[in-house]
Structures are given as structure tokens and as C-alpha cells.
Point group: C2
Chain length 106, copies 2
């Protein structure tokens, strides 16, 4: 059970579910109507997404509405930040190099 957010969004069906639920909370049956997959398989996906805190279930009678926990998406953004920072750093170094070359020309 790896169950981290990156493994969660690796599956195309799960990504599609996230997009669906971004618009509005839905029940497993309602979600399943959008795919060529049995409801039970959708349930499996919902479990995985819930386990890594991307979704939260809200019971209403015998129905369960799953809603997106958008905040969790930030984790992906945070990971991407590493690269933004590293690249920024690279540009700074490039600037220094260019600056040095510029000075040497004098």
C-alpha cells in the first residue's frame, strides 16, 4: 500500500474522478455513469483517493456524497516548487556567469 498522492493521480480514471468532483460532490453510482466501469471499481478508486485525503465522504441517508478536498492538491504544487526554485537558482548562476563575462570584457 503506497497510497501517496502521486500514486493516486497516476491512474487516468482517478484523475477524471477528481475533475468530476471538482465541479460538484457526487455519489459512487452517479460517478460510475460517467465511465465504462462497474460501480464497485469506482468504489475502489474512491477508497484510494479518500485514503490519501483527496476526497471526503458525506453520508446522506443511504447515499454517500464524495467531495474533493482541494487543499490536498497543493502538495503537488509544493513538489513542483522544488523545480521552480532550482531553476530560479540556475538562472541566478547564469546571470552571475554572464555578469562575470561582461566584466571581463572591460
Amino acid at each position: 500500500m503506497r497510497r501517496d498522492i502521486f500514486q493516486a493521480i497516476a491512474d487516468p480514471t482517478r484523475r477524471a474522478i477528481l475533475v468530476l468532483l471538482a465541479v460538484q460532490a457526487m455519489t459512487p453510482n452517479a460517478i460510475a455513469e460517467h465511465f465504462d466501469i462497474r460501480r464497485q471499481s469506482i468504489s475502489k478508486h474512491l477508497r484510494i483517493l479518500s485514503e490519501c485525503d483527496l476526497l471526503a465522504p458525506r453520508q446522506e441517508g443511504r447515499e454517500i456524497f464524495y467531495e474533493l478536498k482541494i487543499d490536498k492538491m497543493k502538495e503537488i504544487d509544493i513538489w513542483l516548487d522544488q523545480f521552480r526554485k532550482i531553476m530560479e537558482e540556475s538562472f541566478k548562476q547564469l546571470d552571475e556567469v554572464l555578469f562575470t563575462i561582461k566584466n571581463k570584457k572591460k
Copy 2:
């Protein structure tokens, strides 16, 4: 062979490789030194990352330096944009609701 970028970054080792290569291009042997994994397994990861255009090999004699293609990372960002937009839209609708309530109070 799914070989899309989300499946590529699902594996923790591959994510670590990407971070390593963000700092500087490296050879498979050099990368392997950072993990408890045989070089051949690293090569497999490099192949997957290259196939979905996250890395590019640069041959130098008998050595091959793999370098990060940072631009490809934007694809993840683009996917995240969907949610940013949907949430933004939600807030607008919330604003409208609040505005309506406000007006009704008059």
C-alpha cells in the same frame, strides 16, 4: 505501456531522480550511487522518464549524461490549472450567492 507523465512521477525513485537531475545532469552510474538499487534498474527508470520526455540523454564518449527537461513539468501545472479555475469559478458563484443574500436583506 501507459507512459504518461503522471505514471512516470508516481514512483518515488523516479521523483528523486528528477530532483537530482534538476541540480545537474548525471550519468546512470552516478545516479545509482544515490540509491540502494542496481544500475540496470536505474536505467529502466531513466528509459521511462526519457520516453515521456522528462529527460534527454547527452552522449559523451562512453558516458551518457541525462538532463532534466524542465519544460515538461509544466504539463502537471497545466493539469492543476483545471482545479484552480474550477475553484475560482466556485468562489465567483459563492460571491453571487452572497451578493443575492445581501440584496434580499434590503
